[in-house]
């Protein structure tokens, strides 16, 4: 374990305390959790790449708060102690992040709210697609599909972690689509820690309870969706349409195999690069104006795309977000071939 120590040190490139000009400036990129893989796998590298391109000598300080608002506060403070010129933050808790904005602004460091807004204390900029919208989009897509199929019965709803603010937003969004849909909401569940195993256990129980009444499952992310699918498989019954969110590779595979109905692909590349641009402008001392105004903050919003079997090829593969080589392995090769994904 000690070996990794030196490797870790190398990554930092221990720069001197406060770089004065934009040349050697630092920028903090603070992400909220590990429950979704996107922050580490997409947002961070994309933001870093764009930043490198804009300002080769600048340093990005990346931190992940692992769903802990207090830890995020600590990370922000430590970034400030390191003399960052701007903070890009995806808050764990939109309300609690107000403190971070306050103390950053008190030290003349601009804060860019990323992905989730900070309503209580206006940040300097807000770039996002919003989670509530995501929830309503995946649910609506499922409902539309069920209506088209003339399905009769009810829907299960698998929410995210009860202690996660983002999950709360998704949940709200899902309700906004499911409640007026005409399909009965059989039961819903807040999955502790977003754990797929928990979702599987719960769905298994509902299968014994409602048997074939279940015509669809709205799951708040791909992991819990996968758990729901495994529950149906394990019960030896037909898998109804199940939603997801995050467009993980595993979810893409399930969609290709026909196990999962949809997921949602967020234009993370666009968002990450946009935020890098904005951050760079702030670091240069400019004050970029937003496309719109939300929560008293200059804002820019982007729209995600729901991915189903119909459009998976163009959304995920033709656009280059995923490579066929990663997804079309083993048993999924056949499905890929059918959809024309190479």
């Amino acid at each position: 374990a000690c070996g990794s120590d030196s490797g870790a040190g190398g990554g930092t490139g221990s720069a001197s305390g406060g770089g004065g000009d934009v040349q050697n400036a630092k920028v903090a990129f603070l992400m909220p959790d590990l429950a979704s893989t996107r922050y580490e796998l997409q947002d961070k590298p994309l933001f870093e790449a764009k930043m490198k391109q804009l300002c080769p000598s600048c340093e990005v300080i990346y931190q992940n708060a692992d769903s802990d608002a207090a830890k995020q506060q600590q990370q922000a403070n430590s970034a400030l102690a390191q003399g960052v010129k701007a903070i890009v933050i995806d808050p764990v808790d939109s309300a609690a992040a107000a403190t971070i904005v306050k103390s950053a602004q008190a030290q003349q460091v601009p804060v860019i709210a990323y992905d989730r807004p900070i309503p209580a204390t206006p940040a300097d900029y807000y770039i996002s697609f919003d989670n509530e919208k995501i929830g309503s989009m995946i649910a609506q897509s499922l409902v539309d599909h069920l209506k088209a199929e003339k399905a009769e019965g009810g829907i299960l709803q698998v929410n995210g972690s009860p202690t996660d603010a983002a999950a709360g937003l998704i949940k709200k969004g899902i309700h906004s689509a499911v409640d007026p849909s005409g399909f009965k909401l059989l039961a819903e569940y807040d999955t502790p820690d977003w754990q797929p195993e928990k979702a599987q256990t719960w769905v298994s129980g509902q299968i014994t309870q409602f048997k074939d009444q279940i015509v669809g499952v709205v799951a708040a992310n791909d992991g819990t969706g996968g758990g729901a699918i495994a529950a149906f498989k394990a019960a030896g019954v037909k898998v109804p349409p199940v939603t997801g969110n995050d467009a993980e590779v595993a979810a893409a595979q399930r969609i290709i195999a026909g196990d999962q109905y949809n997921t949602i692909s967020k234009p993370i590349k666009i968002v990450a690069e946009a935020s890098a641009n904005v951050a760079y402008e702030f670091m240069q001392g400019k004050k970029p104006a937003g496309k719109t105004q939300l929560y008293n903050t200059p804002s820019e919003l982007f729209v995600p795309t729901v991915v189903t079997k119909e459009n998976i090829k163009e959304v995920l593969f033709d656009s280059g977000i995923m490579k066929a080589a990663d997804v079309c392995t083993g048993e999924y090769a056949k499905g890929c071939a059918e959809l024309g994904i190479q």
């Binding site: 298994s204 509902q206 309870q209 498989k233 590779v249």
Partner: protein
Amino acid sequence: MATDRQDERLQSREGLRGALTDVLDRARGGDLGVIPVVVGLIVIWSVFQILNPIFLSSANLVNLTLESAAVGVIALGIVCVLLVGQIDLSVGSVSGLSGAVLAVLFVGQGLPVWLAIAASVLMGAVIGWIYGQLFNRFGVPSFVITLAGLLAFLGLQLYVLGTKGSINLPFDSGLVNFAQLDFVPAWLSYTFAVIAAVWLFASGYLHAQARRKAGLSARSVSALAVRSVALLVVLAFVVWYLGQTRGVGWMFVFFVALVLIMHYLLSRTKWGRAVYAVGGNVEAARRAGINVRAVYTSVFVLCSTFAAVGGILAAARLAAANQSSGAGDVNLNAIAAAVIGGTSLFGGRGTAFGALLGIIVIQSISSGLTLLNLDSSIRFVVTGAVLLLAVIVDSVSRRSRTSHGRA
């Protein structure tokens, strides 16, 4: 009179009736073994059945058995470490890591499944061995070692899953089938039940014979027969009832087999004795010439190995390995199962069967609440309350044990 029955202060206990008095007497003295846990379980089951009649349906109980297996196996390892008075906080991470390694080797690298399993299990064993070395060499409290392990192996799990984050195991692979769809055929289940009962009788009978020959008191044949028939009836009923829907899952059989093996190892081998001795009084064990370090190492190795096996089962059941596998309450559930099953956190007291009973209590609570569709806030509260209730039954008996001088 039998050699061990000569003290005149002993009340005499002969035959079937003697065996019964004995049990009653032990109960009065608070030495009830697993009975209180079973009573607690019955209470929970009745309550949930009243609240939702699906709870005790065959289908739900089949789910219950399958869902118990993974964490149950982990709890079995926890029982071992608790028996020597140590703890392992990292079983969750190790199980998650093991699932991840399995998925990467099997799906990612395309290795044969048995090789991937072997590698995961071996990794678990190596982790345990490292714990043992750190513990023996430096005397770092196992709480801290395994807390460090919890963090380190969680990190490793994320690292191994790498860019994918989540890896599907193919639904048609044998491993996933084993965890999801493979059930023991009815005839074989009944055969198992009969074998178990016959074996219980035969071994009991031979043992009693040997004791009589040596001039010691022994269980009467009738008592033995009653016991075996009771077992047969219970097992046959379970098999029949579960057979109403899908039957007994192989994964559950695997778990029960592990419990039986561990029970044998703990109660019938020199190693098992050493484990209890170290947990009871490590200095006395050392002075008796027991290689205390080897015992600690073996126990840590077992625990991590079981954690790895549990991780494989969990991944197989989910048909996926992902970043949050093994996170959350796997640790607490595994430790709680062991404790509820009567294993002492201070070492020296507990059984392998405790893990089985404990995990069934925990899964019953979780499954019962699943069927009730409560708000998550209420669900947490109720889970806590039910857990407490289940254990109070057990503890009231222990209170009487203390008042009878068996602290």
